[in-house]
Symmetry: C2
Subunit: 541 residues, 2 copies
């Protein structure tokens, strides 16, 4: 027997009703090279409707992929809504990848048209001849001075939008919420990047989950600044959540230098912002010069939050950093840092708890599976591979026929995250390590993440990464690469003294290298692959 509720699919175009109704006066502010671009949600909705017509006019096939090379901007937001609403697939592309990867991704997705910020033309245009499916380019002029190619395939965004008629509701083509809405490739630390194809349902459910009180609690009183790029897993879903709940949006555009970000928080009274650790570490030294009292929540993702960094924020501006956990494959937010109610924690203990991934959002499930294939106890101690399930979690990669085509999914349809983790009785997730980053020394595991966190707790350390190096006696031993703060006198011996008593004696690395910087992936995470290459002079696998 079926229920008798209305058949209303969860689709991206439903956001338009809120943008045009209750929230039509809300503002989105974008920093541009030539000044600030401002618009209301009502304006954006009108441009979204025109953009749907533009896609038709360009002859983009019904469910084609529409690639974007863009910063966090209003125009990118318009594409976020228009492309899926038109029935096509928004394919956001990370312009920081290597040229070969960009070519692979555009061709693998078979993008029909690319929307490109003018400032990114110098990266993308030279690759045009390597793209096998791209018919047209639409340039979004962000005030940069990059030359716009004189080529019949190149169109201007603003001209197209101005000349187009707004689409009506009947032109929003999606009636099945399982239809593909957007596509994002994993950053691919090993092997070729793999595409994750989100459906409309997962985008709407994820936006709703971010608004729940115990998640990010996003609402109309917020002003959200997504620093996390819009080419990276839908900017963690924040733009869609903002449009649904009527939060104002501040888009940093190309103004992503630490002082510029802080200036925008101050100028626009941002309440909620999110970025990877590297960004917050870079901004630390600039905190003093800004009034940041509007902030209520700073998400620090993409890895563990160094407690020392969070403490520095808390002491400087009264806001600790709050971790969240997710992956490209998980929409991405699955857990967010969380202080359980009715518990008495010292400020330091609270900061420590908030520096960890936290608990699973409604509609998502996590389990930790041991090497014997059995789910381990939720005791905060038993480790194993973290696996995830839910309507916001991938079942397969783009272009694969099903879960069985990949070792990333279990037989019963859960995502294998590749993280080693524990879950506590209260649901608190702790990431112990990446499966491939664990160090096996003398038959026992050493957590590179834990070692890194302890080393980064030293006041003179800016960053630290630990990798495994082959060892004749122990099999593997940890090697630490450490970036020292300017003007300090850090030495390997000081690091080893710092670690003594903080970790087991046999965890202390014999080899500590003081280096200028830790190589990063295109999404700002430590690149263990590149680090192994440069330190060991061999290809890591």
């Amino acid at each position: 027997m079926f229920g008798m509720m209305q058949d209303r699919p969860l689709v991206v175009s439903m956001l338009l009703e809120r943008m045009e109704g209750r929230f039509r006066g809300k503002e989105i502010v974008t920093a541009q090279a030539d000044g600030v671009m401002r618009a209301t949600f009502g304006d954006v909705a009108d441009r979204v409707r025109r953009l749907v017509t533009v896609l038709d006019g360009l002859g983009v096939p019904a469910d084609a992929r529409v690639g974007t090379f863009g910063w966090n901007t209003q125009r990118h937001l318009e594409l976020y809504v228009a492309v899926p609403s038109s029935g096509r697939v928004l394919h956001t592309i990370n312009h920081r990848l290597f040229a070969e990867q960009l070519t692979f991704i555009v061709n693998d997705a078979a993008d029909d048209v690319l929307f490109i910020d003018r400032s990114l033309l110098p990266i993308v245009w030279p690759l045009m001849k390597s793209f096998t499916t791209v018919r047209q380019i639409v340039v979004m002029d962000d005030g940069d001075s990059a030359e716009i190619p004189d080529d019949p395939r190149v169109r201007d965004y603003e001209t197209l939008v101005a000349d187009a008629e707004p689409a009506n509701d009947q032109m929003f083509a999606v009636h099945d919420e399982r239809s593909a809405a957007s596509l994002c490739y994993t950053s691919g630390t090993t092997g070729q990047p793999k595409g994750v194809l989100y459906d409309h349902r997962s985008i709407i459910l994820h936006a709703l989950m971010l608004q729940t009180a115990d998640a990010f609690g996003l609402g109309e009183s917020d002003t959200i600044m997504p620093v996390v790029p819009m080419f990276h897993v839908n900017a963690w879903g924040l733009p869609y959540a903002a449009l649904m709940c009527g939060a104002q949006l501040v888009m940093p555009g190309t103004a992503t230098a630490p002082a510029e970000l802080l200036g925008q928080i101050e100028q626009h009274s941002v309440t909620f912002t999110a970025a990877v650790t590297t960004v917050w570490r870079g901004a630390l030294q600039h905190l003093g010069g800004h009034d940041l009292t509007s902030l209520r929540h700073i998400v620090c993702g993409g890895g563990a939050v160094p407690l020392s960094l969070s403490r520095a924020y808390d002491e400087a501006i009264g806001q600790p950093l709050r971790n969240a956990w997710g992956m490209t494959e998980t929409s991405p937010v699955v857990t967010c840092a969380y202080l359980p109610p009715r518990t008495q924690l010292s400020r330091e203990d609270a900061r420590d708890l908030l520096a960890h991934p936290g608990v699973a959002l409604p509609l998502t499930q996590l389990r930790v599976v041991g090497s014997d294939g059995k789910v381990v106890a939720r005791d905060g101690k038993s480790t194993g591979e973290l696996q995830a399930a839910g309507a916001t979690i991938a079942a397969a990669y783009f272009g694969q026929s099903g879960p069985s085509a990949s070792s990333s999914f279990t037989d019963d349809g859960w995502l294998r995250t590749g993280d080693v983790a524990t879950i506590g009785p209260d649901g608190q997730l702790r990431i112990v390590d990446r499966t491939k980053d664990l160090i096996k020394s003398g038959g026992e595991w050493i957590s590179s993440v834990e070692l890194e966190n302890e080393i980064m707790g030293h006041g003179d350390v800016v960053e630290a990464a630990v990798i495994a190096v082959p060892d004749d006696k122990w099999g593997e031993r940890p090697l630490a690469c450490v970036v020292a703060a300017p003007g300090t006198m850090l030495s390997p011996e000081l690091i080893r003294q710092h670690l003594a008593g903080r970790v087991a004696k046999w965890w202390v690395p014999e080899q500590v290298l003081i280096v200028d910087e830790i190589p990063k992936t295109a999404t700002g995470k430590f690149s263990k692959v590149a680090l192994r290459d440069s330190v060991l002079g061999l290809d890591a696998t």
Copy 2:
């Protein structure tokens, strides 16, 4: 092209994972005649699993309706989860209806088995012979002394649960989220009651919406006491939301007298509670005797909130009453009272705004349609019939083949609510009246709701209801029935003086009756039908 996210239906049984995992230690407390019943969510989950087996053991067919006659209790909560998870349909029944209505409802739903609180046996058992489909009765012993019939069809809840094996996950039979989960009949102020058949999807989406920051913002830090009955639209969805977010639950059972309710709020540090206006009016005189500082949110639904009552609460305990709007057909919450951010309101203006329905939740849509069939402007002035759409809103009534079978739904699938309303530019909904309660005097409309609110603003008035009476000259004129506070000297003339200057002169009713009480429907709302019957001595239609 379809997305590649996991196929995870939104079904009631997904709540078990949270009850058994992260929230297993959360408590539910039930007031019983013979003392307090306490259990953890983990205990409840175990009993839910046994209850699924019990339903199988009783031979209840795969998608049969399971009727309940119950107060707000832990056992009723167990049925809320177990019955839908087993694939069957939970049919909650309002025991305050007339005998003929109860018989109609049970037979219309074709209930296979009834679960009945012992204290309600005297109401239900005498009707047993009129029930054509009920094969068995399961008695939930709530400590009452009502005689339990010595009959082979009568079983004991606790014995059945204790003797059953817990069901495993494979026994949760629902794989399509559009499957029917529960059934509730409208209170039927006119005509026969009509059943609304909720699906699993609507229950889960509704529970999620209640957790959003700008709705009720329910979370783990809450202790929720649903006073609104569990037989009435899933107790406004609060039990399901509580299980999803880990809020503790306080169930008043039969202890629904005002002083008892306040005592439970104080004893269990309730943070969130919800009831109809009548309950809060009754509790007003007892506020002084209790420490109610734990409360953060009091929902007052089932009609407009009298501003004078809200003011009295705010002055006594620092919490105004907050309105919400919905119907049996809408799961039920569609709007909740809301203060827009960044506005400076006086305390009185804020109370006034919170006394109104507020704004639509995410995933729901409202529109006001004029008599010409066109959607009216969102200007806060243009009135028309309120219509609703969304995945949590009914498309048809139980037993009907489709929307076209009823005038309650539009051709394009929206619910016609029967309320006359305006929507403001900021999305704020105002209910002007029920379509059938408007008074047409001299060709102009008079709002009975507005008149009632003004009259109830008089300090000596306890309750007031306004109906239309035929008038030779004007067509219709308003007639007010007013209940005076004990010991006051209220007169029709004093009411008319109070209204002068507060409403248009021609709105002031010539006829004002001072009465002992206003007749109520089974859900505590003013029964205009019964009032017309008694005042006019004729059958209202």
